[in-house]
Amino acid sequence: MTAARVLVRGVVLLVLFLLAPSARAYPQFVFKGYGDCGSCHHSPSGGGFPNRWGRESLGVTFGEDSSLGPLNDDLDFEPSQPLELKVDLGADVRLLPLFGTDGDGSLGPTLIPMATEIGGAAALGRVTLYGGITARKLYGEGAPYAVASREHWLGYEVTGGVDVRAGRMVLPFGIRQPDHTQYVREDFGFDKYDQSYGLELDVRRDDWSLFANAFVGDLTLAAERQERGVVLTPVLELGGGAGVGLSLLGSTSEAYLRGAGSVFGRLPLSASTYLLAEVALQHLNAKDGDSKLTTIAEYARVGWFARSDMDVYLELGHRSLLDADGLRKTRVGLGVNWQLWSWFELVPQILTEARSDLPARVLAMAQLHFVY
C-alpha cells in the first residue's frame, strides 16, 4: 500500500470517527474551567482539584460513577449532618513530550514533567480545609526537587453560594486557564508557583458572581517583592452560557506599584462550539526612580466539541511589553482536549510561537494528564 493510500484511509477513518454519534456535551463542558468554575472544583473561584461533582460530570461520557473511588466524598454541607467529616482526595500528574524547531535550531525531543500534585479537601460542617503538595523543580546543585504546597486554605461556607477563604491561593483574575499556558497567566503574576496568601470572598449567584481577594503576597519571596493589594472580579451571566467579566487588581510592594485589569467573555457560537476571549493590561511603576513597564496581553479560543469527550480548539495569544522596545510574543495553537478515560486526558497540540522579529518556533506536543 502506498503512503498516499495510507494517508487517505487515515483521513477517512478520522472523519468517520469524529462524525460518529456521541452523547451531547453538557454546557459545563463548554465552559470547563471558566465562568462558574466552583461547581466542579473545591475552590469556589476554580482551579485545583475537582470536587465530586466535577468527577461525576465525567459520567456523562464514561457512565455513572466511572470516575469515583475511595475518599471521593461529596463535601457539600448537609444540615441534617452538621458535624460529619467528609474527605475528597485527588492526584494530578502531567507530562509533556514535545519536539520543536524554529528553523535556526531545535528543541527536543524531550519529556517534561509539568506537574505532580497530590492533595484534596476535608470538610466538617461548613468548614473546608484544602491543600496540595507538589514536587517543585530546583535548578541548583543537589536534589532536583523539593516539596512545596501551591495552595492551602481554610474555607467557610457562610450560606449557599457565599464562601470566605483564608490561606494561599491563586488570585481570582481573568480567565482561569491552567497556570502558565497563556500569556495573561504567566506574564501577569499567575504562573505555576505564583500564589498569594490572602482573604477571599466568593459570591456565586445564577446571574452574577463576585470574587474579591485582599492579599499579602507570596510570603516565600523576598520581602521587597511581596505585593499587598486587592483584586476584584465580578462576572455577569448573560444567559445561554454567555458571560462577561472584569478583573481589577491594585497592589504595592517595596519596589513598585502595580495596576492590572482584564476584560473577558465567553460565548456559545452553536450547540457544540464556543468562543472565549480576554484582553488584559498591566502597569508597573517603580517607587524609586522613573522605571515603568506596561504589558498588554490578549487571548482567544474557539472550540468545537466534536464528541462529548473531545474538544477541538484553536487558541490565539499575544503579549507585548510596551516599555521594553515593544518586546512581543504571539502564539497560535491547534489542539485537542481528549478525555480518553475518566482518569486520563490526552492533549495533542501543534503550537507556533513568534517572538519579536525572530523566526517562529513550531512545537509538536502531547500533554498527558493523569487525574484522580
Partner: protein
C-alpha cells in the same frame, strides 16, 4: 538511618532543616516532633534552595546605583567571553538548549524577568554557565539589585 530519615534525605537532600538524632527515647521523640514540624513548615512554605542560591534582597545596591546592562553583557557575551550563555553549544540561535535563546537583548530580558528565581539559582550555584566561569559575588549582587528594584527593563 531510619526509613523516615532516608526518605527525608532523598526528598530534601541537605536543604531542609533537621539532623540525625541519637540517644534516648525522649530525644528521639523530640526529634520526631521537630522533624514533623520542619516537614510541615517546609511543605507549607515550600522547601527553598540553599541560602547561597536563593534570590533574596539582602546585600543589594539601591535602585539607580546598578547597571542592568552589566547583566545583559554577561549573559550575551559570545564565545570571546568566559561567562556567556550563547557560545556554542548553549543558548545561541542554533543550539537553544532547553528551549532557551539568549542571543538578543530582548530575549535576555524576557527570560531573566519571567523566571528570575530560576536563573539566579542556576547562576549562583554555578550550574550555569555550563561551559564558562561562574558569576562572582559582585555580578550576583547586580542581579539581586535589579530584581529587588522591580526587574524593570533598561
Amino acid at each position: 538511618m531510619t526509613k523516615w530519615q532516608a526518605a527525608r534525605a532523598l526528598m530534601f537532600g541537605n536543604r531542609c532543616a533537621g539532623s540525625t538524632a541519637r540517644g534516648s527515647g525522649r530525644l528521639r521523640r523530640r526529634h520526631a516532633a521537630s522533624s514533623a514540624l520542619a516537614l510541615a513548615l517546609s511543605i507549607v512554605g515550600g522547601c527553598y534552595p540553599p541560602a547561597s542560591e536563593r534570590l533574596t534582597c539582602e546585600d543589594v545596591d539601591p535602585p539607580g546605583s546598578f547597571d542592568y546592562g552589566t547583566l545583559e553583557q554577561l549573559v550575551a557575551l559570545d564565545e570571546l567571553g568566559s561567562k556567556g550563555c550563547v557560545a556554542a553549544p548553549c543558548h545561541s540561535a542554533a543550539t537553544q538548549r532547553a528551549g532557551v535563546r539568549l542571543d538578543t537583548p530582548g530575549l535576555v530580558y524576557d527570560e531573566l524577568s519571567s523566571s528570575p528565581e530560576k536563573y539566579y539559582e542556576l547562576l549562583a550555584s554555578g550550574v550555569m554557565p555550563h561551559d564558562g566561569e561562574p558569576w562572582n559575588d559582585d555580578e550576583l549582587k547586580t542581579f539581586r539589585s535589579w530584581y529587588c528594584a522591580g526587574a524593570f527593563p533598561p
